[in-house]
Symmetry: D3
Subunit: 195 residues, 6 copies
């Protein structure tokens, strides 16, 4: 499991490409996803299995240990095999833990249970909140993330939707009327890339 240490060294590539000088690591992303998932779990009325929620949040990027953080603009080229590659890598990395963790990652991927929706909502919230912090701190060109905010789907987790509204408002204030220059997404006869 020593391999998981690599997550503290891998930068989140989206921020690298946005020009953030010292971007968060993949582990920073997982940590904050877990924290946000914890808070959301406290705020909703339904009973939630906390251990499951936090395990999903902590391990949801485990495949990146070997595949690294593929950016959104890679999507048209890796779409067909990425999920399979990530799952195979996860099996190899987890080793003895695969029996426990892999079913949770599959559950997260399917988005059917409350815990899965909660973690997914938390993960996407982490991304737009990070965008807001970078915009606040003048780090990189964050204008592309207006789109993420606009498309944010709380998956029925009400407090996540409320936080996302605040994030959207603040991000808008920090970005102002900054122009957005689309680079890295052009592909003929194809809709814009989505991660």
């Amino acid at each position: 499991m020593a391999e998981l240490h690599a997550l503290t060294k891998l930068p989140r590539i989206g921020w690298v490409l946005a020009g953030v000088a010292n971007p968060e690591s993949v582990s920073d992303h997982c940590f904050e996803t877990a924290i946000i998932a914890y808070i959301l779990a406290q705020q909703i009325d339904e009973p939630v299995e906390l251990g499951k929620v936090l395990t999903m949040a902590l391990f949801h990027e485990v495949g990146e240990v070997r595949l690294t953080d593929l950016p959104r603009r890679s999507s048209p080229y890796v779409r067909e095999f990425k999920r399979k590659a990530e799952r195979e890598a996860a099996v190899d990395i987890l080793g003895d833990l695969a029996g426990e963790v892999l079913p949770l990652l599959d559950e997260l991927h399917e988005l059917k249970t409350l815990e899965a929706r909660l973690v997914e909502a938390a993960e996407e919230l982490q991304i737009i909140a990070a965008a807001m912090y970078y915009a606040k701190e003048n780090q990189g060109d964050i204008s592309e993330y207006r789109r993420d905010v606009a498309r944010y789907d709380a998956l029925g987790i009400v407090p996540a939707a409320l936080v996302a509204e605040v994030v959207a408002r603040r991000l808008g204030e920090y970005l102002g009327d900054r122009p957005y220059w689309e680079l890295g997404y052009r592909r003929e006869n194809q809709p814009p890339a989505k991660e």
Copy 2:
């Protein structure tokens, strides 16, 4: 709770002082502590409340949001006040979450329950494992951490003790006979500082 984002920006000061050029953040430390605690929880025979374990691990440095990561060499000067200051800061930072999280942090501090000992063992394991990785990667002068390894207390968590042995051996291999130059711990009529 937006304040917790600061943990992704705060460097672990011990590594800064050791000369690690791009050291892990406090959130990296918490993430890895949680991962290690999860693995230890899988490996011991006794039943463990997983949600509690991961919550303790994720929030155990919450006070550093306002107090930052005070290094070991500050110990002789802040020893009497630090715990109280951290707890007060935690109350202010956690806000509405304090009711849930603060009792867990107190439980962790007291080291009486299995969950508390497991997280404490995981945290200390994270530190000596990080030392081993930095020694492996030639980052900074890690010779001081031989002492941490030698003093490692698994608190009765058997798999933690087994991992610590491997870490000790590898750290020894990477450091070789590198000299240790004690800087920052001298105080007359006083035993060497301990965090």
Copy 3:
């Protein structure tokens, strides 16, 4: 005295928290404080003991070698013991030099002599000038430092007041109408933190 080398490695934590990617070190701060103090000393009409002024400026953060740079938001929790801790740390760090330097640091703390007021005015000027440079360079969210500029007290050092006016004007130009989002200062029934 080799310990003082740590000041070149310790980042000024306020800038870290503001999101400055590669912030100045404590030694950078001391260097610029000394340079500014030198210039102010040239510009005032009264006779100034230059050796004393520069010694005060160079050594005024010596305690941070062991305590690190505690940020403003730590103030409510460390207020009562910080000064004492810094002084004790300074004694231990300075060793044989304490006899010469400590009385100067005490003199600086009391702000009674011209030299002490001059160095204090220089130090605060360094901080707001650094804020101005970071705002100029789009580094981090500097909006909080509008408050420092507004509260700047030249302590009767006239040329310091003149420079502070220029800094205030330029900082205002660079920040424009950027919103200020207070994070890290909430405490019930308590006035806003001050360092």
Copy 4:
């Protein structure tokens, strides 16, 4: 073509995983590959089309603009798809230039012409030379690259083989008897990964 600017921001991920604090960018790698290819072209007796050689060297990582630098340990999971994905990405990125550049990249991939072998030999030489410089500078754990050096294939380019011998010797001197700890390559029933 503005997208190619991303290559100056993307770190070579192998060095990130090895713990190099401030690793070379993909563009650094391409620049040095071109320089080495130029030198080899001067040193061999056969006539070489220099414009072709340098174009191959400069553009050989163009697909990484969208796919980023996938590390060696991703190989078992992406092996079947990577070449196709890179080529498709290259087409989209190159746009109008694809007509000129793509045939050269295909030629490079096939390793049949002298120019292709020369650029390939230069690229691999850049990698082992970079390993040697990092070992010289104590940056990261470079012990894994002993294997690259041992397997270096000059593809018939004699001066490349001569330089590789010097690199091998110096790398050996700098690494000494440093242990190699294989992380990130375990896969059951499968030979060790190769990029």
Copy 5:
């Protein structure tokens, strides 16, 4: 020729002084100059010797291996001897390659041939495009580079002039009405510095 590796470590000092936190290296500059020169060569109607163009672009900063990247503000003090120093350094660094490369660098300096004008136009285009990217990414205070854009001379290379217009427009959008504070160019009785 191992010395040329230094170009990957040397930061472009102009960006350092502008406050860019993690600026491009000299080799990044050379790489992009070569890429731009390649594209311009494809777009003009006249026949161009591609090998010569790319060699000029790749080696045009070779003297900086020993002299480093002297900033514009050094110009009044080094103007008289810089060219000679660079040429002497280039001779020593290039060694056996000097016979091939030095005449090309001289040709580039004289700006008489089409290839020389094309590379010079590409190099200046790289600088203003880098300014535009940094402005886009909020990195540093780029306001000074408005002047470079205004003075851009395409040297008769038509497609370079067209790209420069786009760069100028975008840079203007990103910088808005940001004030320009001239620092580092004052010299009495002397026209403003030019590199």
Copy 6:
């Protein structure tokens, strides 16, 4: 005088070339030179004008604001012009302060007075001590600095000689038998470069 802020951004180029990932700034060097000069001044028996010593130490690199930190390997090419260029730059940068500071810099350059010798001894001591710290922290290839240590001249300042002996011993311990590979100093018919 706002220009002097640049010294906090300029890296000491010698360490950059040695492969130190996050090297000290020119202002760090000046700060430590001043601290060391202060300590030496306390330790010698002769009376020393402290204000003069510290002013010399703080301003001794003022010319680098415009000329940057030229590395040792530039010496053969700039030797004849460097001193004049630095002095002219200093005049322009210092402006109104030149009347006070320039005579001190000239005095330092001539090495005739006790204060000048003391600051020069302190500056060289800072360099070899920094080398020792980087060697201790595995930062970069410091093997070249064995030569600086061997050639260290305390200029008659006895306590400087004593410290230099300790530095020499520790540097030797940290470097062990690490090979030294001379790069960047070859010039025919010319003795090895000296700054």
